[in-house]
Amino acid sequence: MNWKKSLTNTLKKAVLSSAVLLLFTNIAYSESLGEPEKEELKFGFIKLTDMAPIAIAYENGYFEDEGLYVTIEAQANWKVLLNGVIDGSLDGAHMLAGQPIAATMGYGTKADIITPFSMDLNGNAITVSNKTWQKMKPNIPKMADGRPVHPIKADSLKPVIEALKSEGKPFKMGMVFPVSTHNYELRYWLAAGGIHPGYYAPHKGDSSGTIDAQALLSVTPPPQMPSTMEAGTIHGYCVGEPWNQQAVFKNIGVPVVTDYEIWKDNPEKVFGITAAFAEKYPNTTVRLTRALIRAAKWLDDNNNANRPAAVKILSQSNYVGADYDVIANSMTGTFEYEKGDKRDVPDFNVFFRYNATYPYYSDAIWYLTQMRRWGQISTDKSDQWYKDLASKVYRPDIYVKAAQSLIDDKLISASEFPDFANETGFKAPQKHFIDDIVYDGNQPNAYLEKFSIGLKKGDKL
């Protein structure tokens, strides 16, 4: 018993002294930035592994290093979370990239929400129920060892939907929010396979998004996806982790495609705050961005070396709370498709590499093009309109301030960030889409013309 006590005592002392050391050397607290105007903050999140930067910034003390006392609270669904940020009960939150854009545009609740920090790349997948998988499987080409060739395209799903239709049954899938990445990814994948996912017509009061649809998409909160599919309400879903791996573990479904395969290194969540917050508390905003950048870097450091430790934190009940194994499956560089078919996807979750944290205008514009493609934006807009809206929501100016102070404090080297002097905020034309269509953020209208399914110039429902 005694040795145990002395051990804990030494441990405690060690922790304390290192804390004291940290304080007096002040390596992390930037003097030049000025005191945070608001020190007590409350951030919301949805139980998904890509909330990791917030959890890590808290657990590793990065928020405290900035003099911020942050409480982190899980939210019931994306709507509750967004309303929390708008009405001020939350100071900031882990958001779907489409949420700040749609809110600023006034699709759904209108509010000026901005993002200084992009949280991650990739991280989602599409899962179908076992029954659907059995019917899809014969249509998928096989490799020499009998496993299906990846990426699996929606072409293999099309006959299944047609068979259901001839029986008079609808094909239903779940996604997490009308302006979620998942909605657009799922639509992109379906449409690339010739399946029409349906149009929205907000000017006619239609927000169900099922006009002309061959696959009916509806909203389900992420943690409830597996149980909703198990209950038979939906045939499949598109969601972030760990809810695809959960389906494999529970033996109720098979993930068929990851969003990495639909669009390599696609932008996923962002950290959203109100424009009013950023204006009222500029130092706090820069400081919280600093803490989040440090957390994201820690998550990707040394080739994902910290991921097991991160998974351990995420598996705590107050964060994601799923089993360690379920979260680890995708967070540590692998992804399990059909049970036993585990493949390497080292970039399934990217938090910092490839400038993942920089808020690119071109990312925001891609979301806007998809909103137009599926009718959430009901009329034609000029290329300039897309750019103006993107620069209103995505705020690299705040990001650069935070990153620069981290460089000045020698916490992160300048080589790990984009070259700020020459950065335009537009990525070079991106090629890696599942249907090989090239996306150039500078020409959103020209991009829309390339799709065979989707609204084009002059189309109005």
Binding site: L16, N26, E40, G61, Q75, Q224, N251, Q316, S317, G321
Partner: protein, 332 residues
């Protein structure tokens, strides 16, 4: 001769001792042995059936898994407390450093920002239910007395009560939430909105049984007692104080006990639905997490919720015994 008498008396004595022991044993069996037997049988059937129910989150938790979760929840509570302590120490150091740099700095100690443990959630729920219940009692008992004394008022208000009484808390909740967030606006709130929402929902649901029972108790006071009061020409206040209250205490308390039971049940549902801190949120969070321990943790919470409900009821009963003049009216 005398020896036989001694023998007889000694016999009666042993007999008396025997009957005494028997009676004691009987009460002991009734009070201890039988419940223990009942619980053991329950535990046995629980573990048997648990093994044969397979959910997608693994086996349904048996008693053993639940006990394990209790200890793990306790360990979690302890670690969280240690983390909290470290948090406060770091904060003090930080404040001291700030003070050294800027002598005008007024240090502020912020509450721990970590998660609420299971034990914290229990206390949150207990505080919420007590506040909600007390507020309900504060409204219901005076209203009930007034209605009991005034037949016309009773006739006027009774239909409203009858309509609101069967309303589920879940129907009230969205309304309460919206009203609270619209009306309760302050920069430095004394209590959080979520606490207020849960509390008011509890109040709304536990109000009615108390009003009805108090009214009944007051209106059914014997006419003799009322006449005594009339003969003595007691003022209304003294009448209530000396005649009405003592006479209707048993009924009032029956209503209060009923209400407290309702309040506790309502609170768990409200916390679950509105994601307000407390045991209900704990259950919902665990359900959402869907980890392999989740079901056992939920079961642990179920046991705790039941146990606390039972203790609350006992506490009300003791209180009722203490304040009623007519001890025989108190039924278990």
């Amino acid at each position: 001769m005398s020896s036989t008498t001694v023998k007889i008396t000694s016999l009666t004595v042993t007999e008396q001792v025997m009957t005494f022991v028997k009676a004691k044993l009987n009460t002991l069996t009734n009070a201890l042995l039988l419940p223990v037997v009942g619980i053991s049988i329950f535990l046995f059937f629980w573990s048997i059936t648990a093994q044969s129910i397979h959910t997608s989150l693994g086996e349904f938790p048996g008693p053993k898994a639940v006990v394990e979760q209790f200890s793990s929840l306790y360990v979690e509570h302890k670690t969280e407390r240690e983390k909290a302590e470290a948090f406060y120490q770091r904060q003090e150091k930080r404040n001291a450093a700030k003070l050294a740099k800027n002598p005008d700095y007024v240090g502020k100690i912020r509450a721990y920002t970590g998660k609420e443990t299971f034990v914290d959630q229990i206390f949150t729920s207990l505080i919420t239910v007590t506040c909600g219940f007390l507020l309900a009692a504060l409204i219901a008992i005076p209203l009930g007395i007034w209605m009991g004394l005034n037949k016309r008022l009773n006739l006027a208000i009774n239909p409203i009560i009858q309509i609101f009484k069967p309303v589920s808390p879940l129907a009230w909740l969205p309304l309460v939430t919206m009203v609270v967030s619209a009306l309760y606006v302050s920069d430095d709130p004394l209590v959080s909105k979520s606490f207020l929402t849960s509390m008011l929902t509890v109040t709304l649901c536990s109000l009615w049984p108390m009003v009805i029972n108090t009214t009944m108790g007051v209106s059914s006071i014997g006419s003799d007692l009322v006449n005594v009061s009339k003969v003595l020409r007691l003022s209304t206040l003294t009448h209530i104080q000396k005649i009405v209250l003592p006479a209707s205490v048993p009924m009032i308390f029956t209503g209060m006990r009923l209400s407290f039971g309702v309040a506790w049940m309502v609170l768990i549902a409200a916390e679950m639905l509105a994601q307000n801190p407390g045991l209900g949120k704990f259950v919902w969070d665990e359900f959402q997490n869907g980890s392999s321990d989740s079901l056992a943790r939920i079961m642990a919470a179920v046991v705790v919720i039941g146990f606390i409900g039972f203790l609350l009821d006992r506490a009300m009963l003791q209180l009722q015994r203490k304040v009623s003049w007519d001890k025989s009216s108190v039924n278990v």
